[in-house]
């Protein structure tokens, strides 16, 4: 038997205790890191004018910055709606319906310590809209002005109250400004209004602060422990954002433990990800994968042809092909949105489609649709369009698919169908997070190109009347009812071919807890914890 002197036992115990304490202290201070693989081709702009589509807003914009109103991303069961952000409340001026009064939140500081107040709000309007302001930046204008395009001017009423004057009555302005980011006047002024210099030390008011960037490779943000919304102080210490445009690379990075959270895994990798214990999440969100139709000339100037096309789509077959990462689309909105209403449903009915085409005298009914080979929100455009063509052809159509790259299709979309007469339809999927984007800009006559998104020159006096009334209705319930009616009318008109809504698949490592996938294009990463 080996005898150990008591003094040595004491030393040994002491050493073990010390080591244990050291380990415990280490664990207490171990930084928790959430690593996200984005599908973006590059790191989205982090100076307050996000690019790379809504992914730039989702991961960079809403992490570093806040807007007057913000999206409530706390629920997976209902579509996200807006809630107070940097403005605590807002109301239209009863005496002048072209003026909105926003009461700003007090006690909010930018990451550089400067105060958020009415001066900051007025200054930010100059940054985006007033080209004579020293802080005006053409890129910020290009990326953010679409959110406040209807705002003519912004006035300071007092230190924490501003008035936004709109060009036309606009009941939807509170929705439109969600995503119009507020950056620190002090930080931009300190950078001599040079936004490249500002990018080295950007300052917003968001739940994360900028830490460092490796160009094209990674953006690292750290938690803002002083964030004004205590319920949204990030539960991880560091957020690392990695652009990985290749879907198989993202899946491999998750499976090999290099990242914790990936965007848009391709459907064929889902079984493998699930088998490896990854959490695969899907949720309906306001996304519309459709064919927009040119309705001022044959064949789609005939409602029977438009209805026939809608009846010819076997949406369940499409969902099966996509392994369940989409749902059948029967309208522009999804059913959990307040503007969906009770529209008619063009459920698959091949015989009815054939009969309608025959009645319209359009057999074979030839048309050309512009499609993209890839693109933001376009899902898997090539196989999906091949299937849709097959289904439409079976009903008596003769569809010609005209593929092009995403930028070219966007050109066709913005230019309008008159500028590109070779197309009878285009497949550009859009967000429908709010009524303006969702229906009004795509259906009302006033939004025909070059003034909006009504690509196919659709016009219906009923839709126009409902839209104008909705824009001038400042009671939310009345406004929403009018918009729902507008949505029902546009669907009854078969204004487009309604096909599918994406389910926005994401895959998470089993170490990731607490994520609530909102019914939105945007997501809140702050509640996420990452287990060691």
């Amino acid at each position: 038997m080996i005898r150990v002197p008591k003094s040595r036992v004491g030393h040994l115990l002491g050493a073990v205790c010390a080591a244990g304490l050291a380990l415990a202290a280490g664990a207490a201070h171990a930084e928790s890191v959430l690593r996200v693989a984005m599908s973006a081709a590059d790191i989205p702009d982090w100076t307050g004018a996000p690019d790379q589509g809504y992914e730039g807003y989702r991961f960079v914009g809403f992490s570093l910055y806040d807007s007057l109103t913000e999206w409530d991303l706390t629920s997976s069961t209902k579509a996200a709606d807006i809630r107070p952000g940097l403005a605590e409340s807002w109301a239209v001026d009863p005496a002048d319906h072209k003026t909105w009064i926003f009461k700003l939140r007090k006690g909010v500081k930018f990451h550089d310590g400067c105060d958020w107040n009415a001066d900051s709000a007025v200054w930010n309007f100059g940054r985006v809209m007033v080209d004579t302001s020293p802080q005006y930046n053409v890129r910020h204008h290009a990326m953010q002005s679409w959110l406040i395009t209807n705002v003519a001017s912004v006035d300071k009423i007092d230190d924490y109250t501003i008035a936004m004057h709109t060009k036309i009555e606009d009941s939807l302005l509170p929705y439109e400004v969600a995503g119009y980011f507020q950056v620190s006047q002090c930080a931009v002024t300190k950078a001599n209004n040079d936004y490249t210099a500002f990018g080295k030390q950007p300052a917003g008011t968001g739940p994360y602060k900028f830490d460092k960037v490796v160009p094209h490779e990674r953006l690292e943000l750290v938690k803002n422990a002083d964030y004004w919304d205590k319920s949204r102080i990030p539960k991880q210490d560091r957020l690392v954002l990695l652009p990985m445009p290749e879907a198989s690379t993202r899946a491999a990075a998750l499976l090999s433990g290099q990242v914790d959270f990936i965007e848009a895994p391709s459907p064929d990798t889902l079984p493998r990800l699930k088998a490896a214990g990854m959490t695969v999440l899907t949720v309906p969100y306001p996304h519309n994968w459709d064919y927009q139709l040119r309705v001022d000339r044959p064949p789609f100037n005939d409602i029977r042809v438009r209805q026939a096309a809608n009846y010819a789509i076997n949406r369940d077959e499409l969902v099966d092909m996509l392994q369940g990462v989409a749902t059948a689309g029967y309208g522009k909105f999804i059913e959990t949105q307040p503007w969906y209403g009770h529209p008619i449903k063009y459920t698959y009915n091949l015989e009815k489609a054939k009969a309608l085409l025959k009645e319209a005298g359009c057999v074979p009914c030839k048309f050309t649709v512009g499609i993209s080979t890839s693109g933001s929100g376009q899902m898997q455009p090539l196989p999906m369009n091949e299937l849709i063509k097959e289904q439409l052809d079976a009903a008596g159509f003769e569809v010609t698919l005209a593929p092009m790259d995403w930028n070219s299709l966007i050109d066709v979309f913005i230019g309008g169908s008159h500028k590109y007469p070779q197309y009878d339809a285009i497949n550009v999927s859009l967000s429908s997070i709010e009524p303006g984007q969702g229906t009004m800009k795509g259906t009302m006559t006033r939004f025909q190109p070059p003034n909006g998104w009504n690509w196919g020159y659709f016009t219906d006096p009923v839709v126009d009347k409902l839209g104008e009334e909705a824009l001038s209705s400042f009671d939310p319930a009345t406004r929403d009812a009018l918009i729902a009616k507008l949505h029902e009318t546009a669907i009854a008109d078969a204004q487009e071919i309604f096909i599918a809504h994406d389910l926005n698949p994401r895959a998470l490592s089993p170490k990731v807890k607490g994520f609530v996938q909102a019914q939105s294009w945007f997501q809140d990463l702050t509640p996420i914890t990452v287990e060691p």
């Binding site: 081709a41 590059d42 702009d45 690019d51 790379q52 589509g53 053409v138 890129r139 204008h141 290009a142 990326m143 002005s145 679409w146 395009t149 936004y195 490249t196 990018g199 490796v214 160009p215 094209h216 490779e217 990674r218 990695l242 990985m244 445009p245 290749e246 198989s248 690379t249 491999a252 990075a253 499976l255 090999s256 433990g257 290099q258 092009m404 790259d405 995403w406 930028n407 070219s408 966007i410 050109d411 979309f413 913005i414 550009v428 859009l430 984007q437 800009k441 070059p450 909006g452 998104w453």
Partner: protein
């Protein structure tokens, strides 16, 4: 020698000019608006026009070309639309990441190809020849991106031996070739990049040495009683200019970056940069990167040509 070098150097000027013209033409032949990827889908025509004006993209293409060329001659390749950083900095940074893996891949391919090529050429029709030829055919035929994906599945996902993507755990800024925890990120990209040059160089080595071994002077050497090893050395020396020419081409290709391999592995080199520039339609970055890579390709080949003349003076006389 110097006269030859000067003549070859002068020839790079029209080649460089030709490259710049083709770059411009190709980029503008593609449909779509160059600033569109910067803008949301519902940007107005006024926004587009304003942004194009800001980047000088509203001028006629020949004017844009002349302005760009004038700046390029002074080393100013403009600024990236996406990052607002100088294009030259972006390309230099990417080159610094690509050159090491390209050089290692080509050296690896050269050493293996030389060994396999000599074995095959000296045993034409034999088992070793067939095996070596099979390796070469696989190297040439297997798509690099496919190989990259397979490597990732096997070594990163299934075995967990190597990281799947990226250049180091904290990005290329912190990468070190002298730390295993970092340098292991380069192993799979190097393997994926090595296969094609290995196949091409092996076939070139085999065919050129086998050709040499069938020539009269080799018969003469044999008749004079020279040993087989010495004869092979003679054959290699004579075949070397051809192998070196191919080596130069392969190095040029790899420094240009394999878009697919670098994208699969998210390796932030020139191929990765080009891919980003294409996807985001970053025209100044695209133009500057293509120009620098094309000139690098031309210069590498010039260097190889000069090296060839030192190995085989007959080339200089032609």
């Amino acid at each position: 020698m110097w006269l030859y070098a000067a003549r070859r150097l002068l020839m790079t000027i029209p080649i460089g000019l030709g490259v710049t013209i083709i770059c411009f033409a190709l980029i503008y032949l593609a449909p779509g608006d160059p600033v569109q990827s910067l803008l949301p889908p519902d940007a107005t025509a006024k926004d587009i026009a304003e942004l194009k004006h800001a980047y000088g993209l509203d001028k006629p293409i020949p004017i844009q070309y002349v302005i760009w060329l004038g700046h390029a001659l002074t080393g100013n390749l403009g600024r990236s639309i996406q990052t607002n950083q100088p294009v030259l900095d972006e390309v230099t940074r990417a080159l610094a990441n690509t050159i090491p893996i390209a050089v290692i891949s080509v050296v690896l391919a050269f050493v293996l190809a030389l060994g396999l090529g000599i074995l095959a050429a000296t045993r034409v029709g034999g088992v070793l020849d067939r095996v070596s030829t099979a390796i070469a055919v696989i190297g040439i035929s297997v798509p690099q991106f496919w190989l990259g994906v397979i490597l990732v599945i096997v070594f990163a996902v299934e075995l967990g031996w190597l990281p799947a993507t990226g250049m180091g755990s904290a990005g290329s800024d912190h990468f070190s070739w002298f730390r295993w925890s970092e340098s292991k990120y380069a192993i799979m990209p190097i393997i994926a990049l090595t296969m094609t040059p290995l196949g091409i160089l092996m076939r070139t080595t085999r065919s050129s040495i086998a050709e040499m071994l069938a020539l009269d002077f080799i018969q003469t050497l044999r008749a004079k009683g020279l040993g087989s090893t010495a004869i092979v050395v003679h054959a290699i020396r004579n075949a070397l200019p051809q192998i070196m020419a191919m080596l130069g081409l392969q190095l040029g290709y790899l420094i240009g970056g394999s878009i697919l391999v670098e994208t699969v592995f998210t390796w932030p080199g020139t191929g990765f940069l080009l891919n980003k520039a294409i996807l985001t339609r970053d025209i100044p970055l695209l133009q500057g990167t293509i120009l620098v890579l094309a000139m690098a390709f031309v210069l590498i080949n010039l260097f190889v040509d000069l090296l060839q003349t030192s190995v085989d003076p007959r080339i200089k006389r032609t």
